[in-house]
Amino acid sequence: MKKLINSPDEVLADSLVGVAAAHPSLTVNSSDRYIARAGGPTPGKVGLVSGGGSGHEPLHGGFVGYGMLDAACPGEVFTSPVPDQILAATRAVDGGAGVLHIVKNYTGDVLNFQMAAELAADDGVRVEGVVVNDDVAVENSTWTAGRRGTGATVFVEKIAGAAAELGADLGTTAALGQAVNDRSRSFGVALTPCTVPASGKPGFELGEDEVELGVGIHGEPGRARGRLASARELVGVALDAIHADMPLSGEVLVMVNGLGGTPLIELYVVYAAVAEWLAGHRVWITRNLVGNYVTSLEMAGCTITVCRLTPQLTHLWDAPVVTPALRWGR
């Protein structure tokens, strides 16, 4: 294992010190392990809390700030946060209008957020949740724990965050987050595995000419192994899977997201293929993100997320946002 760390057990703690030092707009509570806006809760505004395992940076801490999250709860690398830290963050950001939990659909994340929500409710904080499950690689059937949450989390956090900033109440903010999730689908491809610092070994092995299709963001294997092909062909596999699940039409928001080990030049090669495929299907990209937003440590590969926009969602996407990883309009 070759990593820029001080010790495998201190990666999270050390990185949080770095986050606090780098971003004066954020406050890091190191005992309760959450990252929040430095200004404290905004009175009367719905608070947004997300969280999940670390190793996906900038998700979620990089999306804390005006127009997006109020707090993020980082777990150990690839491990859900514990209820204590989620509860502490929920209490800290409640400005009296209730708190929305944005949770990626993994058993651990769902159980830990659920416990925290029950404890917060005991304290009199109103909590609602949106569970993001956009990954079409997993069949949503009685045979699985349901679909995983991946790239659409960024869209849900941005759009629900904008709505909350504009004064939407808890129910409206949650419904918008849910709508974004329902209108979004993702598919991921991995070219290399990644290594969790505490384990020291890659999560799986891939030959020189192999790719994992439908890979998750925790270094878990995907739904099938395929041959390495051109970017255009792999994009075809991903978009065919998305289109088969949710027929695409009209205006869309697209994210081509790097998993941590893929250079931007390749992400743009992928984006070109995505744009070409969509144009060929008479689907128009009106908003996009290309870059590393939901990573999987140093894994090479990408995820492609498509959201079918409405004028309202476009408007909220365009609303000002000021966070370490997304900023525009102000």
């Binding site: 690398v77 859900s80 830990n112 045979w143 384990s199 878990e220 739904r223």
Partner: protein, 221 residues
């Protein structure tokens, strides 16, 4: 269920010390098998089960060592709460909730075989209520359910604690091995679909350690 408030004459009961010893014995077993658990989790999950369990049970051992419990359950409730606060992942709430449920059912200074059987049943009920997994889904349930059945069967037949716990540990290990040919339907491993077949479930493996530690604790006089 009624229990004698005084320890039984032959000493065949769980007392506050043995409850604490059980937690320590699990921690020692997890420490020894940490890499194996993580290796199993890297095949069908995200390579953290050993690390998760190790973090949780190390903290639980420290927490129970610092207390002067007056019931059998007190140390187990503290262990459960500590697991919830330190593990994360799916296994944190599931194990944490189970130990809290077991502890709450042992609200006496000592407990006999029947009472422990009922407490272990409460633990399983907690895991199933939270995780909604059924036997055959390739989870910790597949080790826990047969272990509980064996314990209950022994308890019903009048066996002593050590015999019941040994039967439970044996059954847990059989259950653990039975997860290998199963296709996962719950948790992260379910994302692999048919590719989860052929791998032993990490959570079932740690559950077998939990029951073996109980057998060792109750077998030691």
């Amino acid at each position: 269920m009624t229990t004698s408030p005084v320890p039984t004459m032959n000493g065949d009961s769980v007392d506050t010390d043995r409850a604490r010893t059980w937690v320590q014995a699990i921690a020692a077993a997890v420490d020894q098998h940490k890499d194996h658990l993580t290796q199993l989790d890297s095949a069908i999950g995200d390579a953290d089960h050993g690390t998760n369990m190790h973090r949780g049970f190390s903290a639980a051992t420290t927490a129970v060592a610092a207390m002067e419990p007056d019931t059998v359950g007190a140390a187990l409730i503290t262990a459960g709460t500590t697991l919830i606060s330190t593990v994360g992942g799916a296994s944190g709430p599931l194990y944490g909730g189970a130990f809290r449920a077991i502890g709450k059912a042992l609200d006496t200074p000592t407990a006999g075989t029947q009472q422990l059987a009922a407490a272990l049943a409460a633990g399983l009920a907690s895991i199933q209520k939270l995780g909604a997994a059924a036997p055959g889904d390739k989870t910790m349930i597949d080790a826990y359910a047969p272990a509980l059945a064996a314990f209950q069967q022994q308890a019903g037949a009048g066996a002593d604690l050590a015999a019941a716990a040994t039967a439970a540990a044996d059954a847990a290990e059989v259950g653990m091995r039975s997860t290998t040919p199963m296709q996962a339907r719950k948790g992260r491993a379910s994302y692999l679909g048919a590719r989860s077949i052929g791998h032993q479930d990490p959570g079932a493996t740690s559950t077998a350690l939990v029951f073996r530690a109980l057998a060792e604790t109750l077998g030691a006089r």
